[in-house]
Every structure is written in C-alpha cells, then in structure tokens.
C-alpha cells in the first residue's frame, strides 16, 4: 500500500501544493484510508522532530551568509578572486567559481550564494562582455559548491537523519568541493579555448595589486579559516561556530561601515523566513518518514536492491540514477528527509561508509537543483539575472558533463571524501 502514499504525494506536489503541506497531507490521507496507525502517533513527532541542538546551526549559518551579503563582503571576495584568476582564459567565469569557493566557507545554502554573491558576479560579467545567460548559468553552477564546502545546511540535515558526526561530514566535503571547482574551471577553460563562449580576459595583476585585494578581502577570508580551525581543534561545536560567525559578521560589517541597522534587520527577517521554510520541512516530513519506517520500507528496499545486485558499485549506480531523477522533480530537503532513513541502512549493509554516502547524496541532490523542470537555482538565477528560463537552461546544460563525471569520481573513489576526516581524527 506504500505506493498509495507516494501517488498522493506526487498528485499534491503536481497540483502545486507547498511541500510543507503536501508531506503531512499525504501522510494523513494515507492513515485515514488505510486506518493502519492512529494519526496522533505521527503528529506527535512533528514538533519533537526538531528537538536537536545540531539543527540550530542551520539558521545560524543562514544568518551569517545573509550578513556577509549585506556587509558588502561579496564585492571584496569577487575583487580578490578577479585579481588571482581573472587573467586565465575563461576570465570572469573562473573568478565566479573561485569566489563561490571562498564564499562557501561562510554560507550554508546555495541560494544565498546564488542570490547574494551571484548578483555581484552577474553584474560584473555582463559589464565585461559576457552574455547574461552564460553569466547566470555559471553562477548557478558554481553556487552548488557552497553546500559541499563547510558550513552546509544540507549536510547538517543529513548528519542528523543519518546519525553521523557533523565535523566528519564537514571535513569530508572540503576535498570534493575544491575538486569540483577544478573540474568546473577546466571545463570553462575548454569552453573558452574552443570559442564556445565569449570570455574577454582581464590583464594580469601585479603582486602588489593582488596583495591589496587580498588585504581588502582578508576579514572575509578569515571567516572560513576560523570555521575550519574551530572544527579541527574542537574548540566549539558546529552550532557554536555558527553563532560565532554571526557575531564576527556583525562586528566586521559595522567596523567597515558596510552594515547598517536597516540591512541588519533585513538579514534577520530573511533568516527567520528561510528558517521557517527550510527547517519546517524537516518537521513536516516526520509523519511521512514515520509511515515509511512503520511500513518497513527500508527493509523492503534493501531486499529489492540486493536482489538486483550485491555489488556496492552497482547499487550505488542505481541509487545515484534514482536520486538524480528524484532531484529533477522534488525539493532537495524533502528528498533527503524521505530517502536518508530508507537508504542509509541499505548502504550500511553493503559496507558503504555513511559519511561517504552523505557526500554522494549531497552532490547528487545539488545537481538536482540545476536540472529541469524544477531546478530551484535556475529559477533563482533567472530572477537575479533577469534572463529567460530556457536560454539559461541551454547555457547550463553543458555543465552537466563535468558535474556527472565529478559525481562518478566521488562515488567510486571514497578516499577523496574520507581521507581528510580520517587523517584529522586519526582513524
């Protein structure tokens, strides 16, 4: 009967019911129809599903990202990245990627990168002769680096659901995040070299100019360093580091006079609403997840997957393809909430490390935010850059090649994800 639950959910989502209501509505309808479990048992979990100190890191990192955006940090980061890599063939497209890598150390959600730093990037790229569509496309693609490099809202949710350590996941994301940026830069270089994009190159900056832009960006660059150091030394928990980053961003914003009380209030308002959107889905999905668990779906799925193959490589391939398909039609957090409790036990049975699987899942779902028909980042960038959806999609499509190759590399080379946490925590 579990198919009934999925069909109801699919119909409600297609009728454009907000996901936060579609998840509990489908669960409650299922319970009414099947009369299997008293609704009180699942409703009870809605509020208690949020009883987690770790989850508190999500609004704090969102707040920090909003503050850095309000405090004009994006421009300083962009200028520094421009001084470093603007002269390479591909020019500002490389700058866009490098700036995203730096900004990813401060913000936990891709949308903050796309909407905040993205606005600066698109404006500068258009000024330098890049097409608006390509500028928006590369910004959308590079913004998914954000949630791979710590801090990351999506990783925190995965960590809570899969019961794995947040610092482990954060550290496991660093190498893949940097590697992804190399993949994208190589691809941009190839696009520029073969004349597929018009990318006017900037003049090479002198060491003094680079030094000056570094000095201006230094306060912003200190944030990710401070965060990683905090995680490595165990000085504070990820949640505490989130709060410290917020305090640092406020201090920095007022020190540089880029942050006003008005923009601070704007950041607070945006954080409250984003938290209400993002974290509330976790609570709203608990009845749905509870039914999946009570109906033994993870066990049934394990039997089905293992009947196809007991080879972890093949199972991972099947899971990757399934997640990519779901990522095209569903919200990232919603998939995470439904899929993690189902898939993590199966992966454990196959001997796949839950931290490694977390990185695979995060990357996979982030690619989903760039794929049609419901790629959220495409909608965000279409709005930010004021471009049509279809031309934007046409410019984004070639980037699926390096992203899929990257996903395969991360899937079948666990050491890329696990080496750093294993080395740091001496396992």
């Amino acid at each position: 009967m579990i198919w009934l639950l999925l069909i109801i959910l699919a119909v409600l989502v297609l009728l454009e019911m907000p996901i936060v209501f579609a998840l509990p509505a489908s669960a409650l309808m299922y319970l009414m129809i099947t009369d299997s479990i008293p609704p009180m048992l699942v409703v009870q979990r809605v509020a208690s599903g949020l009883e987690s100190y770790v989850l508190l890191a999500i609004p704090l990192f969102i707040f920090a990202g909003n503050l850095f955006n309000s405090a004009g940090i994006a421009t300083r980061i962009f200028d520094f990245a421009s001084a470093c890599v603007g002269h390479i063939r591909g020019s500002l497209a490389h700058v866009n990627i490098v700036a995203s890598v730096i900004f990813s150390g401060m913000s936990g959600v891709a949308q903050a990168d796309a909407a905040g730093l993205g606005a600066v990037e698109v404006r500068e790229m258009k000024k330098r002769g890049f097409s608006a569509e390509f500028s928006a496309a590369i910004t959308a693609v590079s913004s998914i680096i954000g949630p791979i490099i710590p801090p990351s809202g999506i990783m925190i949710i995965y960590a809570v659901l899969a019961n794995v350590s947040v610092p482990d996941l954060f550290l496991a994301g660093i190498v893949p995040g940097v590697l992804m940026s190399f993949f994208l830069m190589l691809f941009v270089y190839w696009l520029a070299k073969t004349g597929r994009i018009v990318a006017p190159v900037l003049p090479r900056k002198t060491p003094i100019e680079i030094g000056l832009s570094f000095w201006r960006a230094l306060p912003a660059l200190a944030a990710p360093v401070f965060l990683i150091t905090g995680i490595l030394t165990g000085f504070a928990t990820p949640t505490q580091l989130g709060a410290l980053t917020v305090v640092y961003a406020i201090f920095l914003g007022f020190l540089t006079r880029d942050l006003t009380f008005s923009s601070l209030w704007g950041s607070i308002q945006d954080t409250v609403v984003t938290c209400g959107v993002l974290v509330f889905i976790i609570a709203a999905a608990t009845p749905f997840s509870a039914i999946l668990a009570l109906e033994s779906v993870p066990q049934q799925l394990a039997i089905v997957l293992l009947s196809i193959s007991e080879n972890p490589l093949i199972v991972l391939l099947i899971v990757n393809i399934s997640l990519l398909i779901f990522g095209m039609v569903m919200d990232t957090t919603a998939i995470l909430l439904v899929a993690v409790p189902v898939l993590v036990p199966v992966m454990a049975a196959l001997g796949i490390d839950p931290v490694h699987f977390g990185i695979i899942m995060v990357i996979n779902l982030l690619i989903g935010t760039l794929t049609p028909p419901f790629g959220i980042l495409l909608f965000v960038m279409s709005e930010v850059a004021k471009v049509e959806y279809k031309p934007l999609l046409r410019q984004t499509a070639p980037f699926y090649i390096p992203l899929f190759i990257f996903l395969i590399v991360i899937t079948y080379w666990p050491a890329l994800s696990l080496s750093l946490p294993n080395y740091i925590f001496a396992r």
Binding site: L12, V13, L14, L15, E16, M17, P18, I19, V20, F21, P24, A25, L28, P39, M40, V43, Q44, V46, A47, S48, L50, E51, S52, Y53, L55, L56, P59, L60, F63, F235, A236, T239, Q240, G242, A243, L244, V246, V247, I268, Q269, T271, V272, V273, T274, C275, G276, V277, V279, F280, I281, A283, V329, M330, D331, T333, A334, P373, F374, I376, F379
Partner: protein, 182 residues
C-alpha cells in the same frame, strides 16, 4: 467583500509584524546566548548549563513562527508545474482545492495536538533555570503556528474561491501579504 478581504489582509500583515519581532528576538537571543556560552566556557570555565536545551527549544519556536510568516509571504517551496498556465478561473479552482486540503491538514494537526499537549505537559524541562512543561516548547508552538497558518490559509482559500467565481481578472488575489494599501 473586497473591503473585508483587504481588512483581513491588513490584519494578517499586522500579525506577521508581531510574529517577526518575536522570531527576531528569539534569533538574536540564540546568538547572544551561544556567544556568551563560548566566552564563559573558554574564559572562565563556567559554561551555561542550559545552553543546549534552551537552544533546541528556541529553534522549535523560531521555525514554527518563521513557517507562519513564510506562508503569509508565500515563500514555502512549491514545485511550479502546469497550474499557473491554466485559464484564470480553472487555476483558481485548483488553488481553492489545494487550500481546502491545507486547511484540512491543519485541522487534523490541531485536533490531534490537543491531547498531545496534555501528555507533554506532564513532563518538564531538564536543565533550564525554571521547570516549564515540555509542551511549551513542542506542541504549544506547533499549535500556535497551525492556528496562525489556518487564518492565512482561510484567506487564501476564500480568495481562490472568489477568483473561481468572478468573471473579471483580479491580480490582487492570492498575492503575498506584505502590507496592504487602504
């Protein structure tokens, strides 16, 4: 009818302002509390013992109030499919069905929450300086959020019905509640 609708929108906007001040206070409070905890722990070796418990409870309130504001601003994640492309009245008809289902979901949640509140109220907080019933931090904020979202959803449902029945196109229907002109 239009006057009543605008009055309700203005009232909901005022409620949203109060919700925002409340949620903003919680958010700022969380930051200060955790910052103080780190300073006290690192500097004096005297951590705030209730920081983790209070932080988790604050997150629940922040999320549920934020969700209510997000509904008023129509910011909840929705997969945009074909509904927006339907003819005006049919589109509003589909939206009316959706908001009726949202109201039904909220009704079930509110109905089931009443006994849960009583059960949760029997246990109290662990580390906070004062003993509060645990329901204050779980079922009560959820109940308040559900009630507030019911008000908003009822307005959107009525607007969807108005759009379904009216012949003239009204672009002010089913728009985010962000301060209404008198």
């Amino acid at each position: 009818m239009d006057g009543i609708r605008k009055f309700v929108r203005r009232a909901l906007f005022r409620i949203a302002q109060v919700e925002m001040i409340f949620a903003a206070t919680i958010l700022v409070g969380i930051v200060f509390m955790i910052f103080a905890q780190v300073l006290l722990n690192a500097g004096l070796g005297r951590p705030i013992t209730f920081e983790q418990e209070a932080g988790a409870y604050a997150l629940v309130w922040l999320t549920f109030i934020g969700a209510s504001i997000a509904l008023k601003q129509m910011r909840h994640v929705t997969i945009v499919s074909f509904v927006g492309k339907l003819p005006y009245r049919l589109k509003h008809f589909v939206r009316a069905i959706i908001f009726a289902l949202v109201l039904w979901t909220l009704y079930i949640l509110i109905r089931e929450l009443s006994p849960i509140m009583a059960i949760e109220g029997r246990s109290t907080t662990v580390a906070l300086p004062f003993d509060f019933p645990r329901s204050y931090f779980f079922s009560v904020p959820l109940m308040i959020s559900c009630l507030l979202m019911t008000l908003t959803s009822a307005l959107f449902f009525i607007e969807a019905v108005v759009g379904t029945l009216s012949r003239a196109v009204d672009m002010t229907l089913l728009t985010p509640i962000k301060g209404e002109a008198r």
